[in-house]
Amino acid sequence: MKLLKAVTTTSSGLAILIVAIVSLNIISSKLAFRADLTQDKVYSLSVGTKSILKKLDKDVTIKLFFSRSIKELPIPIKTYATRVEEVLQEYKSLSAGRIVVEVIDPKPDTDDEEWALKYGVSGVRLPKGDQMFFGVVLLVGSQEIVIPYLDPRREEFLEYDMSEAIVGTLRKDRVKIGIMSSLPVMGSGNAMAGQEGDDTWAFVNDLKRNFNVEKIESTVQEIAADVKVLVVLHPKNFAESTRYAIDQFVLNGGRLIVAVDPMSRTDLQINSAEMRTSGQMPKVNSDLGSLFQAWDLQYDGANMVGDPTFATQINAAGTQTAYPFFMSLGEANLSRNSVITGNLKMMLIAEGGSIAHKGGATSRFEPLITLSKDSGVIAGAMAAYMMPSDLSRDLKSDGKEKVVAAMITGKFPTAFPSGKPAMEGDTQANPSRPHKTTNDNETSIVVITDVDLFADGNAVDKFRFGQQIMVRARNDNLNFLVNAADFLGGSEDLIAIRSKGRIARPFDRVAEIQKNAQQRWQSEEEQLTSQLTDLQKKLNDMQAQRTDGNRYVLTAQQQSEITRFRDEERKVKQKRREVRKNLREDIEKLGRQVVAANMLFVPLAAAGLGVAMFLRRSRKYRKDRHGVSK
């Protein structure tokens, strides 16, 4: 009876407690507070978004389509959807009533599902056949912007994607961007953006989200006045009249982003067929020549820059090697003062060049990407023929910091003082705008001396998701371009949000060991290689010394000399192999040390403390017993 009473009283107490706890959890799910402990405040809305929301002067309806009622939804997607809902609520609360958020669960065969499809939210087929919708539609008046699928892998960019969409709905006319390139960046146009078969470069699709992108032929005579920003990528073999068009575009107040390259690997790959048939090296470098001079820039178009400090591991002929011309640059290299690079974290420069400011110029030169004093140069033309390991070996530091990208601001003279160059087949006799000799107001030009960094292979990873191709940035390469376009095109709020993600944090220490090992290996390897060359030369000399009469007969001395040399050659080769192995050895050694330190120090200290405690206690125990027996 007593037991029963105790059980019933405590049970009823427990029941009340459980009810209280469940309701507490339910209430707390509505009133959540969050602390964002990440260094980059990945989970908090940034100043840029707040500023965009403050400026909001139209009502925006945000519809989140999410098939929450599907049973077999993967948990990470469910969790992410909850997070998206919260972020949207936060947008709503900061919008002073301008934003309305609707969460819709488009069940099969309902109007909601039809609407989702009508808006272009893409249904993803799950393994058991259910169609899952997880996308967002923003409506402002008659305008609509759709994010067809919210990829959980883009969680870090959720805020940027949302704010970008809001900015997109507000812009009365989107800024027009012209793209001019000697590479097929615009794709063949055979497939829709983001669908299978779309071969448009990712940076073009990135720009399309925010701008009206227009292809401009590289034979153009004049650039339309409504183009606000012009992107010139790899201006190879541009005619004088095209250069004149660019010159006048800048002097009329147009904003320019130009990417040139002393050796474009992408171009080389495209033209490799030509190289094979003609046996000649195609021209794969680009330059704007007189235009750069007019803009106070000195561009070293002949040389490719490399920096062993930032060498990236590449796979060359089956072996991993740190290649100093593929540079993984971090915050130290990317100017913190510029809005273009201020919040970028990692860029990969793939065999680029360098620029400098012409002495005595009045314009302002703002370096955006800088290399360390360990950097050096090598002739760009060599890269097509030589192996990466040989190129790395030939790279010598010249002790100068080099600028890979910069922004130049000022008033510039025309590169064509005598007016439009007369060209054959010039059909446009009267340009719509008069010739200008300088710009009325200051203008800015962003120059980057690498083209390959914008190629998909260097900038993004692609995943297939149903019919969709998901593109995820591998580094900040495309952000550099989009930031530059945003900045020059006039929307600075988005820049404050961009690139607030968790990007790789590689071990600096390992990279440094790699660099040192490479340097040491290089000098030893060079020494051994030259020893080998010497030996081989001596062998050849000895064989040449034989006269015709004794061609097939070697003296015993010659024989033994040759054997000795061969022996030595074998030893040197073996030693070189060992040196090459040592390159990796240092890194593996550090790995072993780190594991050993973790395995030993604290566990041993704890064990030692335990033993000490045990000894002390047993001594005390013996003493006590002794005391008692006495």
Binding site: K2, L3, A6, V7, T10, S11, G13, L14, L17, I18, I21, L24, N25, S28, S29, L31, A32, F33, R34, A35, D36, L37, T38, Q39, V42, Y43, R68, S69, I70, K71, E72, L73, P74, I75, P76, K78, T79, R502, A504, R505, P506, F507, D508, R509, V510, G591, V594, V595, A597, N598, M599, V602, P603, A606, A607, L609, G610, V611, M613, R617
Partner: protein
Amino acid sequence: MENFFPLFKREFLGYFRSPVAYVFIVIFLWASVGCTFFLGNLYDSNQASLDPFFNYLPWLFLIFVPAVGMRLWAEERRSGTIELLFTLPVTMVEAVVAKFLAGWAFLGVALALTFPLWLTVNYLGKPDNGVIFAGYLGCFFMAGAYLSVSCFTSALSKNQVIGFILGVVICFVLVLLGWGVFTDVLASFLPAGLIDIISQVGFVSHFQAISRGLLDSRDLIYFVSAIVVGLSLNTLVLNARKAS
């Protein structure tokens, strides 16, 4: 309340008086370092982050926490000191909470002793220490939730081993609940709304949310609730035993 702290102190220091505690700490440290480096490949991943460590902790805790908790009540009952304990001027709730807090503090010490891992990633690169801090906090709370379950199972039997095994089983179920493969199986016969609730009951989804660096009141309240439920059951069982 005045007897609460002496009781807590006695229990907490009690761990360090027994050689088992040191063996426990050494094995826990080896297991966590081993999982981090050999299963999680921390060094080869070339990323300054403790994710490989935090990913394995829910599974390590599955064994280690019930091992810490199994002694708490079973031992008192086996040796009969429980009677003595209740003659002291402490309430049942105070005793339960004091023992739990002592165990939790001991687990905190064990967790804190993994600090060389933190030093390692800071030596090798520049990790986001905010995220690491959140990860440790999440681990500590999760350890508390596991421990409250173990306290409850320890009170069920005089035999420590039975307490341990029951603790492992219940914690295993709580880990499974948040695991996709398991909820997929449940989804074949339960409605979606219920699946949603069930997956919210599991430990892992809450722990992962915190260890990403986002400290959410809901996840903290969840862990605190789990601890309170575990300890309440513990009190209930002890009261029932005492009454009988």
